[in-house]
Symmetry: C3
Subunit: 387 residues, 3 copies
């Protein structure tokens, strides 16, 4: 099966070009650029929030942090999901501080002056308030964000009129339907706090030029020359690498962590997909499980990176199948930590007065594309102009 | 004594209006507005510093923090009180770092080059310095702030030419003379560090719309409908609530903490007064004791709130009377903590991009007045204009 | 030997003037002035880095922090020393994070994508990179700073075309040749973290007006009236004080810590020299040892101050001679801490709105000269103009 030159062809719809220039360092440190990113990207694009299973029952909620905004993602009595700004319309008090829970009263009450909202955000009660001087209850519903459920993944958009999810994420639609991801469940979750810009994580995820030096184990399981890109449209940039072991997977010993997920078959049994859903999600379907990251920026030089492992509930509930889950978790925890170290060192180095712009190798050409997406979203001039 | 409609009338010299708008959120977070507040309010108005009893003897001093300024409040040999900037005139060294103490030499010596000042700030000695090139000792006294003693409360003003205390605090003069507050002494002190803007504490103090939800015990002792405002002139905004229990007070069981203070009698035996002395003091006379807060802003989102309980010295010195003191302290410590939680949540929520301005209920109308005081002091346009 | 009026004459080439004015307080706190200082001074002047002995063998390196820049000071196979910016030319990753060590491979490899540099900074390998689109290996050597070895002290300059070391430090050349400092070795090192501006340390070092009050022990060993300045040219300002005890030194008991160093003789046997090498080194040769400080600014209000004691290796290796070394270390550790306290208090006090500018005594006149050096380097108008 291993052919001599099977890894020669790479990328999809663009020529591979060596030596293109990276972004200037300020894109990783500047406070004003960061604020622009919040406004033009994080408060405007579709953002991965959480899995539908995490707010399973009526009244279940989860607080989602998007930049400086706190959003209450809540399921109502009809099991519909709403994304509400966590800000009382009376005087601006944050309604809810527990990161997750259940509104047992099936309503949200402000702790300060007891205004009460329905789970769809409608103002139900404002004690003693008369409707005078421009105050009308009907105008004081909680501000809402948009919600979209894609295969059990809940996305939200804080934009007033967001682009349809299917347009922003076009390349994703139908791509992984064999996995039936709606059926999968979270088996494990690890949260990492990192001192680097959010974009360094996306860049790190989209190239395997660093794999031989940084990830010796990963490189044994999936040779870095096997990296292919099969999509780069809109917010979705993706590709895959080939598993060297027949029916193997990304685990500590390279053996599958369990049976193939749902309807996965054919070429997909030998592939690990790497899809970044700009700006805050990295989706990594394996034949036997799905790993994904959610990136939450806390400043230009700080993020929380939450890593989740999805397995089929049959495996999660099977005591004898835990070894495979553990091995997948251990593999990625090891690999993640290897990445975090170099990302944090890149963060430091790019602050130097002598760092103007670096050079991308041909194996990092997709990062050049990613940079263009960013510049377009920020409506910034391309620093390439004038070179 | 409880009449049917005794709580209907509220406020003093203005109509109650529902639905007026709050300040925009930036007034609670913006660093530049905070700096303006320091300059135009904290370095300009009369500020509560400490009780005269705290610097009782000759040489006693206390450091008072006002914004970024450190002031030495000191009693000299003639028992006069001086407020001196804690900055040596030689090269700017802070003279004193201990928060309180006694200058036993009856002078203040700079620890760096040993310049010596009298307790009234006059430069007494500058070792080896000749009076040349514009250096004259008589021009190098410590910079002074103004001091005013009102009923044992020491106020200072960093303004070069402050408005007279009696003008700024006109509504206060004579108001509580039955308490003879000069005679009272500090029985207890608790210091709280809070993550909120200083103005949220004043707002919280001036309305009882939040009491039923936030303070169930307080609301049983003084029904929130009983809140009246009887003054809002200059820096002083005040009112009272009625004690439901005959000869009761604000304690854990609602019983008086001790006998009525000095000459307190008549209606005052059934009232708890709430007077805010803009910008940094909240004065709460009860029939049997006086509680007050001093607010020290440390930034737009951080304050220290010092809470003090004054009792008559006869009670402080009476072992059998400690239970009443403890009960008053416990009651307000509980109530304070309930308030701090909601103030900190309001601080967080008002940062949202979706929070423009909230709506005051009729029961919060005095806050609208308070906001106008602030805007006037800052010389800002009223955001109400144009609505 | 003690003559009546031996201490009357002071200074060198300027009249002693009382009552000149200090810098305005903003020079110690302002973030923008600090950034200007980094650019115009710390990234432009010769900066003391470390002793040559600290990177003794081929491959030995040390990271040197200069403002926000990290420099790798490394000795190559031919034992030449190079100062390399710690920033990979590929994508800006910091190459090295350990503060000191040995590059055993005699090369520097980036941990991210494995680019390899020789110890002189030349790019040796960029795996898989083709020389296309403007990418040429020969253009991608590590950025370099200049290095100068003066008597075993390594200085670096981040300027592209620095003024020659001998010009900037003219007054230093040959001045201390009797000490043969190249032969001396570090016997002890203490690192202090201080909350004050870097310039306050230089000011503190250049006047002994503070000694009687702050340093009673030092003042007994070297009377403050003995302080003379014998140089103030370019970056070098220096002088000396006289040891009162025949063949004494700065130790806890005033006795010499050991024999005179190398060829030190004559008047130098009774002197302690205090030379500040603007901006970051304080050099203090004693008859029997050399003490020096390296100042590393971390912000306008924060520095690290590293204090080193150099002795002759014969004494360092002589067990019976350790008591003298310990006594010299203890003496300066005590004296340092006395200084840090007053420097930190000056830092606090100069922030006051009431601190405009202070007055220098005649015994601090050299600080006026030092301030002029700073203003010249920053190309700022002299605040003296207009007085």
């Amino acid at each position: 099966m291993r052919e001599e030159n099977k890894y020669l062809k790479r990328g999809v719809d663009y020529p591979i070009i060596e030596g293109r220039r990276t972004l200037p360092g300020k894109y990783y440190h500047d406070q004003n650029i960061y604020k622009e990113e919040l406004t033009k990207i994080f408060y405007n694009h579709w953002i991965y929030a959480c899995r539908a299973e995490e707010i399973h029952a009526a009244g279940d909620y989860k607080l989602i942090q998007v930049g400086d905004e706190s959003i209450i993602l809540v399921r109502d009595k009809s099991l519909n999901i709403h994304a509400l700004f966590n800000v009382c319309r009376h005087r601006g008090t944050q309604l809810c501080t527990e990161l997750e829970g259940n509104f047992e009263s099936k309503s949200i009450q402000c702790p300060y002056h007891s205004w009460v909202y329905a789970l769809d955000g409608k103002l139900m009660g404002a004690p003693l308030m008369k409707e005078e001087n421009g105050f009308r209850k009907e105008n004081c519903s909680l501000h809402k964000a948009h919600v979209h459920d894609w295969e059990g993944f809940l996305f939200i958009s804080l934009a007033k009129n967001p682009e349809p999810f299917e347009v922003q994420m076009e390349a994703l639609i139908g791509k992984f339907s064999d996995w039936n991801m709606t059926e999968l469940r979270i088996a494990r979750h690890i949260s990492y706090e990192l001192n680097c810009n959010w974009k360094l994580i996306l860049q790190n995820y989209q190239e395997c030029y660093h794999c031989p030096g940084v990830h010796p184990l990963l490189s044994r399981l999936t040779p870095f020359e096997s990296a292919q890109h099969d999509s780069s449209k809109g917010a979705v940039i993706g590709g895959f690498m080939e598993l060297i072991k027949e029916r193997g997977s990304m685990t500590m010993d390279g053996e599958a962590a369990g049976p193939a997920v749902c309807d996965v078959g054919g070429d997909d049994l030998q592939r690990v997909y790497y899809y970044s859903l700009f700006p805050n999600m990295l989706l990594t379907p394996h034949p036997d499980y799905v790993m994904f990251h959610r990136i939450t920026p806390l400043g230009p030089e700080k993020i929380v990176n939450d890593c989740f492992w999805l397995f089929h509930p049959d495996q999660i509930n099977d005591k004898r199948a835990q070894k495979g889950i553990n091995s997948a978790v251990d593999f990625w925890d090891l690999t993640n930590r290897q990445d975090w170290t170099v990302c944090e060192q890149m963060q430091s180095g790019t602050k130097s007065i002598r760092f103007d712009r670096g050079y991308y190798s041909g194996r990092e050409d997709i990062l050049y594309t990613l940079d263009r997406e960013l510049l377009k979203a920020l409506e910034h001039d391309d620093p390439e102009e004038g070179f």
